[in-house]
């Protein structure tokens, strides 16, 4: 093996190492870039309960063209968190088993749930201590929930958005 070939291989090897390092950093960067503050959705992976890699979260069920697409926390400690809606119900509360774990001292461990029925979403209070409110009206039985209407749970307000 000639001197020149070897030098090229030697330097090529170092380049390979650095290509690996920089590609890995690029993967991490992409991880961050997908949830840049531009979109005001720093909802995922950073530890929000709805943690979903943004690459996937940004592609919710394409089948649903109308109706609310996501649940957004608009007030409270988790303000800004979004949760893509599926066809399953969403349990809200402080218990770690909830779909959206509220870090909110005024919410109960299993506070309320928001579920689809027919083509409508409903909100139901699960016997919480401080109650669930729409506006100043307490939710006592499952009632339909329209997009854009804030539901107050403890200090948090969540709403469906189209």
């Amino acid at each position: 093996m000639s001197e020149l070939t070897f030098t090229l291989l030697r330097l090529g090897y170092l380049v390979l190492l650095w290509v690996f390092v920089l590609s890995a950093v690029a993967v991490l960067r992409r991880d961050l870039a997908l949830r840049s503050p531009r979109s005001r959705k720093r909802a995922d992976d950073g530890g929000a309960p709805a943690a979903a890699p943004a690459a996937v979260a940004s592609s919710p069920a394409p089948a649903r063209s109308s109706g609310p697409q996501r649940l957004v926390v608009t007030a409270g400690p988790l303000s800004g968190t979004t949760l893509p809606l599926s066809t399953s119900s969403i349990l809200l509360g402080r218990a770690p088993s909830c779909t959206l774990v509220l870090d909110d001292d005024y919410s109960s461990s299993r506070h309320a749930r928001i579920f689809p029925q027919g083509d409508q979403w409903y909100v139901e209070d699960l016997g919480s201590t401080n109650g669930t409110f729409i506006g100043d009206q307490q939710v006592t039985s499952p009632i339909p929930l329209a997009p854009g209407v804030g539901v107050q749970i403890g200090r948090s307000v969540v709403e469906l958005q189209g």
Binding site: L14, A24, V56, T129, Q152
Partner: protein, 528 residues
Amino acid sequence: MTSQNLTVEPRQRRPLRIAEVFLLVLALGGGIGGFAMVGLSIRGELPDQFWFRSMLLAVTALVAHVVLRLRAPWADQVILPAVVLLNGIGLSMIWRLEISDATGMAPADAAGNMQATLLGAIVAFALLWVLKDHRWLRRYTYTAMVVGLLLIALPLIPGVGQEINGARIWINVGGFSLQPAEFAKIAFAVFFAGYLVTNRDTLALAGPKVFGLQLPRLRDLGPILLVWAASLAVLVLQRDLGTSLLFFGLFVAMLYQATARSSWIVLGLTLFGAGALTAARLFPHVGARIDVWLHPFDASQYERDPGGSYQLVQGQFSMANGGLFGTGWGEGRPFQIPYAFSDFIYAALGEELGLTGLTAIVLLYLLVVQRGLKSALSVRDGFGKLLAGGLAFAMALQVFVVIGGITRIIPLTGLTLPFMAQGGSSLLANWIVIALLLRISDSARRPSDLPVRGQVSAGAPAAEPEPILVGSSGSDGGTPADVTPPAGSNLPRRRVTDRDPHGTPGDSAPTEHIGTDVPPEHRGGERS
């Protein structure tokens, strides 16, 4: 809102892990390329069984990738390739030293280390396959403590323990030498995580305040004193400064993670400093290490045979010879460093890959550690946070202690460089650490509405458990006085609290950053 598709379907596709495949190809290129270049450079031909051994590494990586896809599809995509690359570089260097035929390099055993790598990977990914949820480990908190203490005590038992090079940290099991401390590291991380997640409140809150430092109560100090004593016992009885530092550092770091009290760091550093100073005074072998560190080029230190600075200085010469870009695989003389294949593999790599290569290697470790800490930040349960943080920190500390010792930042101690240095126990234990980190990162990044955690199962709203009545259902309307919304009733209140992301968590308990999902300080920190 009128036509909703009610078909039950998983809303989110599993990640395809394309980035991981790409990085794995690069990583295998690095490992196998190094192997090939060693053969070409030293013997002028590809190594014996080159294709077989290369395929073995590639198949291991592929199997690991498939296991991840099946069992932990959301796990971090950088960890596995980085580890495969580190492991491949380490194997190449060990083989390079083995075929150098230098006198001191007889124990270098690349084939044995390859087997250990395979075994480590198999055990790790079997664990990943079986362990579906890292929280399962929490049940074995105190078992882990007992196991950890037993493991570090094992080498002291006559007949089982072996003393090699003045340190009594090996045991002999059926002809194989094992370093149980490597496994004790994992056991202790599990124990600390389980213990601290239960007791962090008392440790953080109770106790007097002295000079602005929140000191814990004396009785809460019990466990930390116990561990301090155990790590000192390791230092004294087994003469292993590195392991002692690792255990103690692990505990202090996890205490800090759990309580966010800097007093623990001050306390821990003080205790360790006092212990180390005393040890340096009392035990000649510890004192000798410090003399070697401070004056390695003195003739008296250099020529002293047991415990002199010969090895350290050879390592320095080696790295100096490597310079910025290294001599290239197989072209340097790293075999002149005693134990170049295990303790001093970093110096050997420094000679052949140069500062450029060493920086890349350090960055690889940094990547693995960073992904571990990131998982710790993201995962939702306190146990997982502490475990991932502890394991990642232990790896960082281990890398720092080894590299710092070789580059004379700190006194030389006897730890192994994870994934690179020769040693079956170290490889096996570190692969298990990686499996745990991958499991936790999977849990951290997994979208939570898949039916994996808790009782909420996607697509089965009918299975909703009965509401639990907590107190009165309160239709008297007076309960939520402080949260009464403005009378705008149905208006969306989207921007209401955008301005106070730091205001609301003020009332939370000080330790809540463990259990909290979005700690306020984390929002900015993530991108910095």
